[in-house]
């Protein structure tokens, strides 16, 4: 049977005819990507405001009447969940995955565009359900982003009634959305690559997104299982996780479930989730670094192996989040060991990024600044992760601000640095306009220095023993008064960094109309997305004919070449054939 590429079929739904089908019920991967991205950034801004409110309370306690202990816990919970799931996962995979996969592999669209559209609308529904919890009786859940039972569904915890139900429902809807999108991403990568685009010629961005998607498809069921079981515990009184207990003087009907079982399920999802966020970021930063250093990525094969290796290992480290919950010492030893092992491929990637910069022709443009900033923040966050991966160090530090500092450096700031690098890098492709360089650089320095002003002191607070999750420190003897001064300075830094993000929004909106025309391939990049006949690419991406790929995505500064980059769709010349191995010390 003769098959026609789905994007080439004259399917009336897929071919946008009206404003509605073009921009609302769109099946074009680029529009869906922007829908995903806009929604994620919007909800991320909500979470940013929540973090500002938390910091106001911590920096200046007893000052703001509208922040009571319940509200504080609700801010913590919603901030964490929104940032991890609804911003980072959605923006990296739903946003960049959607935009870049077809363009980078030379496809016209996702393999299943209708499913792709449904994925966004389910995502939007999950966000609406989540945000609706702000308006129900009792407000959103304040159980902490890990939603540990039994307290998550018991009176005394904010939002124990409606809030937690909406949170669990929203997560279930998000997982459905992710699964629909994820199936599209993996199938498109495996099936819709253009001629010549072998797996090992794919840019590392696609490797990162592909592997992260596979992780997500296999890890999110754990969250779904725990959400279903907790929902049943809450709504119809089953005892999957709920132990026999007395609450507020009343003996409840629960008969002896296991809260630790929930923790295992949650972290069996939760740790791969770290890499669901990190791997696309690893891939994108690799491409940004290579492009702006005008140098091929160092150790391409090793980078691919590291991505795949990290993906596999991420499923056997989950219980390092649970040392304080108690476990057999042998398990503690096992999970500490696997945690240290996963640092090996991660460190390989860091070395390779640094070695890519080594003797490169580095252009310190805004995307590059953010990419280099990421290397700094990721090394800092990663090193403290090595400390916390060891049981004996984790136990005293686990409930302190040291952990807050660690995971914000490694999982908050680092992916967000990459997100900004990627947004600035691909902005000209998405809009056809250049952004304002000065505003971008200001945005970078405020963000980069500001995050250090926030999180470096937090490590120190952690060493002092300042506990996390507390609404107020009170008059705890072992915490010196100077800790409060530090908290105030952190709050001021956080507010400045938060406000500085407006520079980005202003830049994005202003440049849409007033930015200089980007033209074709303003960065001189080699990968396929920059080789489209139109900028921004039109529906179908490639005009009449799909591109053909002749080389890998990192032919920068090839000796003897006319320019310092050779796009993937340029045939190999005779001179190159006879010139032998012109690059890579790693051949």
């Amino acid at each position: 049977m003769q098959h026609v590429a789905i994007a080439d079929q004259t399917d009336e739904l897929h071919d946008p005819q009206t404003f509605i089908t073009k921009y609302v019920w769109s099946q074009d991967h680029k529009v869906i990507a922007i829908q995903y991205g806009s929604t994620a950034i919007f909800v991320g801004l909500v979470a940013l405001v929540l973090s500002g409110l938390m910091r106001l309370q911590l920096g200046f306690p007893d000052t703001f009447d509208f922040i009571d202990p319940s509200a504080y816990l609700q801010f913590v919970t919603m901030h964490g969940m929104i940032m991890v799931i609804y911003l980072l996962t959605a923006l990296l995979l739903g946003g960049f995955g959607n935009y870049l996969i077809p363009l980078m592999i030379g496809a016209r669209d996702m393999v299943f565009p209708y499913l792709n559209m449904l994925s966004f609308w389910f995502y939007l529904l999950s966000v609406i359900v989540l945000l609706a919890s702000f308006f129900v009786p009792g407000g959103p859940t304040g159980a902490g982003w890990t939603l540990y039972p039994p307290q998550a569904i018991l009176p005394g915890t904010p939002g124990y009634d409606w809030g937690i139900i909406l949170m669990l429902a929203s997560l279930a809807i998000f997982i459905i959305a992710f699964t629909m999108g994820g199936l599209n991403y993996v199938t498109t990568v495996l099936q819709a690559r253009t001629t010549g685009m072998t797996l090992m010629r794919m840019p590392l961005t696609i490797w990162g997104i592909f592997t992260a998607t596979v992780l997500g498809l296999l890890a999110f069921p754990a969250l779904l299982v725990s959400a279903i079981m907790m929902m049943l515990d809450k709504v119809i009184g089953t005892s999957f996780f709920m132990p026999a207990l007395v609450s507020l003087g009343e003996t409840l009907d629960y008969t002896g479930g296991s809260p630790v079982l929930f923790q295992h399920l949650f972290w069996f999802f939760g740790h791969p989730e770290v890499y669901i966020v990190a791997l696309p970021a690893f891939g994108m930063v690799s491409d940004v670094l290579a492009t702006h250093a005008r140098k091929n990525i160092f150790g391409y094969r090793m980078m691919v192996w590291a991505i795949v290796g990290i993906g596999g290992l991420s499923f056997i480290v989950w219980a390092h989040h649970m040392y304080v919950s108690g476990m057999h010492p042998a398990f503690g030893f096992f999970f500490a060991t696997t945690t240290l092992i996963i640092a090996v491929p991660t460190a390989i990637k860091v070395y390779n990024w640094v070695l890519t910069l080594w003797q490169g022709n580095i252009h310190l443009r805004v995307p590059m600044l953010f990419a280099i900033g990421f290397i700094f923040t990721f090394i800092h966050g990663g090193l403290t992760g090595l400390f916390l991966g060891n049981v004996v160090i984790d136990l005293p530090l686990s409930d302190t601000y040291f952990v807050v500092a660690h995971f914000h450096m490694v999982m908050g700031v680092s992916p967000i640095m990459v997100l900004f690098a990627a947004l600035y890098h691909w902005y000209p492709l998405m809009t056809g306009r250049m952004f304002n360089e000065t505003l971008g650089k200001l945005h970078f320095w405020f963000t980069f220095l500001g995050t250090y002003a926030i999180y470096l002191p937090m490590h120190y607070l952690g060493f002092l023993g300042v506990p996390r999750r507390y609404f107020a420190m009170g008059t705890t003897d072992f915490i010196p008064e100077s800790a409060q001064s530090l908290n105030a300075s952190i709050t001021i830094s956080a507010l400045i960094v938060g406000a500085a993000q407006m520079l980005f929004l202003v830049n994005v909106i202003w440049s849409l109309r007033n930015g200089a025309k980007a033209g074709h391939n303003p960065w001189g990049a080699t990968s396929l997305e920059w080789q489209t006949p139109d900028v921004p690419p039109h529906h179908g991406n490639w005009g009449d004919k799909l591109p053909q790929v002749y080389r890998w995505a990192y032919d920068y500064s090839v000796p003897g070449a006319k320019e310092d980059f050779i796009p993937q769709n340029h045939p190999v010349t005779e001179q190159e054939q006879t010139g032998g191995d012109h690059e890579e010390g790693n051949s």
Binding site: I6, T195, T198, S258, W552, V572, E576
Partner: protein, 227 residues
């Protein structure tokens, strides 16, 4: 495709990777794409049920857990109703296979009979499961009165939902072929549906074995898992 050979390629050496052809297809093969999706769906569903089963075994080691088989008063000590339901699902699976064979041989009548029979037995299975729920409720085995009961209801409900999803896809396949008047295009999607039905039968057999296990068997399995 040998994954290790693929991962061992050196893409920076041009002569090691001739430009064309490179095991890629110029046009998207929708059937191959659907096949990949199905494999991933089966992997995801397997993980889902695997995790439920692991939690079942873990939860079974708590004192309040009372297995649904083993003692005369337990409902699945006599599993004849479950066997009957299993028979319905097995018939659905066989009917799908029969329909697939008809589609492959372009005997469209056989294909239609197979699809209709599969849909009939699948719906019968779902109704029988629903009847079993009511039977258990009538016996006092409520969803929240014991964790074993809870698992029974949750696992059967989830399995049933997956079967209902399959029925929706199957009806979509059948009607699209009907409207497109392209019976020769039926075999490929029907093959995927058949695979899914066999897979759901396999999942059900595992659940059946688990839910009708005696406490001794469950304890042995839990011990093997380290619980």
């Amino acid at each position: 495709m040998n994954i290790f050979r693929t991962l061992g390629q050196k893409p920076w050496l041009e002569d090691a990777n001739p430009a064309l052809p490179l095991n890629t297809v110029p046009e998207v093969d929708t059937n191959a794409a659907a096949s990949i999706v199905l494999r991933f769906i089966m992997a995801i569903v397997s993980v889902l049920f695997f995790l439920f089963i692991i939690t079942f075994l873990s939860r079974s080691q708590y004192p309040d857990f009372q297995a649904l088989a083993g003692q005369p008063w337990q409902p699945f000590t006599d599993a004849s109703r479950l066997w009957l339901n299993t028979g319905f699902l097995a018939c659905a699976s066989l009917a799908m296979q029969f329909g697939l064979r008809g589609a492959r041989l372009t005997r469209i009548n056989h294909a239609v009979i197979g699809i209709c029979a599969a849909a009939f037995f699948s719906v019968l299975f779902l109704l029988a499961q629903l009847d079993l729920w009511q039977h258990l409720q009538a016996m006092g085995f409520y969803v929240n009165s014991n964790p074993a009961n809870s698992y029974f209801y949750v696992l059967t409900a989830l399995h049933g939902l997956h079967l209902m999803g399959g029925l929706i896809v199957l009806s979509n396949v059948a009607f699209r072929v009907w409207y497109d008047e392209a019976p020769e295009a039926l075999a490929a999607p029907l093959k995927l549906c058949t695979t899914y039905w066999h897979f759901l039968l396999g999942v059900w057999l595992v659940l059946f074995a688990l839910l009708t296990s005696t406490p001794e068997t469950i304890n042995a399995l839990a011990a093997m898992c380290g619980f």
